[in-house]
Amino acid sequence: MKLEAKKISVGYGGNIVLNELDLTVETGEILTLIGPNGCGKSTLLKTLGRLLKPSHGAVTLNGQDVHRFNTAKLARIMAMLPQSHHISEDLTVEELAGYGRFPHRKQFRPFTAIDRVAVENALNLTQLQNLRKRSINTLSGGERQRAWIAMTLAQEPKLLMLDEPTTFLDVRCQCEVMEIIRKLNHELKLTVIMVLHDLNLAARCSTRMATVGEGRITRIGTPQQIMTSEILRTTFGVEAEIHHESKGLPYFIPTGISK
């Protein structure tokens, strides 16, 4: 399972967001895309997740253009959770997770035992067993985000893409979501690509981090390689002190704006 972006260019109207960008996603890694607002990291994630079609170049999965895949077949390999997802209707946690079985089911085929097991596993992984009958609209922000993740897990993908999964969540909910992502990566060997704004959170759970700027991947490497004052200055325009916690993972404290 190999996902690659080969010289992809993406633009909205005349505005070029990604410019001949190359990226290879390693199987089994947690890759986090970082960068300032408007740098194109969400656009990159959407393009990798075939929600956007590049004007040049291609995103390939095992060598085949993702836009040439059967959409349901692709959805059984990779799942995507967009940043903005809301539903105005009443829907239970269980029902939402059940929608994750959509790419596995043929028209008129009833929900099978296999489907039920997949939904059950998804609810267990996200610790939502006790909330299964609850309406999504009555959940807290963190629970709701977990319910959406449960839907993508019911897809039983090999690759999971998440666009800012922790934004708007309090610190405990952020930790819960990150715990789940780490568990999925360790236990299910799921490859995870995500966009995060919180660099310290990203440094704690990523295998690799990649900075996006000027339409390309400007730097890519381990958290130790990326979390340097020089890269933070050039990427975000901030001065920062870099520290290391007890396990040796880097974190930063911004001290001012670069001149």
Partner: protein, 336 residues
């Protein structure tokens, strides 16, 4: 705390609601057949239909039965159309009006009735083509590498008000013809019979079957464009197909009964409040309830000022909103 603000999710509850709706529809069917200038009992109705003879049989077979069936088909078509549109557009205000079916059908009808009365016996077909043509125009205007719901809604509103202005202008310059046109613009089943039924049933049936086949996909598209695409749905194609089904159903309904669009806005909301948003329940619920609701309105319209008839559209506009508001308030109270 558990299940706060939520209609029961129990399978039995939902089946129960569907059974109640079916009973309501059957009651309305019989009421529609028995009511009128000569009141018929249920025994008389059944005897007349069995023996196929007598004055009662003539009344039922030639006047009341086709009208009641037509009301059922029109009501069901508009309610299904509205439910589909609200799901696809992800907008609670979506209704057959929003895709121009009413304004397009209305303009075509007014043009024929006022400017070319010689062709008025083909009114149904002109209205049908006008309705579908307007829906297609709105879709094309909204298209820009995809037809996003918000652009569809905005271009729908714009084109509908343009056509509405044209209707008003035509009527202003031909005040003598306004009365003849009102029956259509308000929406009515008066004097409709078998030929009208023959014109709509193939569209209603095929549209209805397609809508029922698509219930599962509708649930997915209602989650939003990006989520649906992530789940492997071909969103643009699905959206076009669902819009086409909704336009077909609404256009065929409007072409025989006039501009009854309101039922397409309100019936899906009412059913969603009592049965939930899952299309596998919502769709049959809407079909049954829409059918019963229009028979109810039409029959009330025939009775309240007898021997004068009030158009079904007027009754709908009078009793629909208060009932709808009551349901809404009741639900808000549960959620508080």
């Amino acid at each position: 705390m558990i299940n706060r603000g939520r209609i029961s999710n129990h399978l039995l509850y939902k089946i129960g609601i569907i059974i109640l709706l079916v009973l309501f529809l059957l009651a309305m069917l019989f009421w529609g057949l028995s009511s009128g200038a000569s009141k018929l009992s249920y025994q008389q109705i059944i005897r007349a239909l069995m023996t196929q003879d007598g004055v009662e049989y003539q009344i039922i077979w030639n006047i009341r039965l086709p009208r009641v069936i037509l009301a059922a088909i029109v009501g069901a078509s508009l309610a299904i159309s509205g439910a589909i549109l609200q799901g696809v557009m992800r907008n609670p205000l979506a209704s057959p009006n929003i895709i121009g079916v009413t304004s397009g059908g209305g303009l075509a009808a007014v043009l024929v009735l006022v400017m070319f009365p010689a062709y008025s016996h083909h009114l149904t077909w002109f209205a049908f083509i006008g309705a579908l043509g307007t829906a297609l125009t709105i879709y094309l205007v909204a298209w820009n590498r995809g037809a996003q719901p918000m652009r569809l809604i905005l271009s729908g509103v714009a084109i509908s008000s343009l056509l509405g202005a044209a209707i008003t202008a035509i009527l202003l310059f031909n005040p003598d013809r306004v009365i003849g046109v009102l029956d259509f613009t308000v929406g009515s089943l008066s004097a409709r019979s078998w030929p009208h039924l023959q014109a709509v049933w193939p569209f209603a049936l095929s549209g209805g079957i397609l809508a029922f086949l698509g219930m599962r996909d509708l649930n997915i598209i209602a989650l939003g464009e990006e989520v649906a695409a992530g789940l492997g749905q071909r969103v643009e194609l699905s959206r076009f197909i669902f819009l086409a089904i909704a336009a077909l159903l609404a256009a065929s309904a409007v072409s025989v009964a006039g501009l009854l669009g309101f039922i397409g806005l309100v019936a899906p909301h009412m059913i969603r409040i009592i049965i939930g948003a899952d299309f596998r329940w919502l769709m049959p619920g809407c079909a049954i309830f829409g059918a019963a609701l229009l028979i109810l309105c039409d029959t009330i319209g025939r009775l309240v000022m007898a021997p004068l008839e009030l158009p079904a559209g007027v009754i709908m506009a009078l009793i629909g909103p208060p009932f709808f508001l009551w349901l809404l308030r009741r639900r808000l109270k549960y959620e508080a």
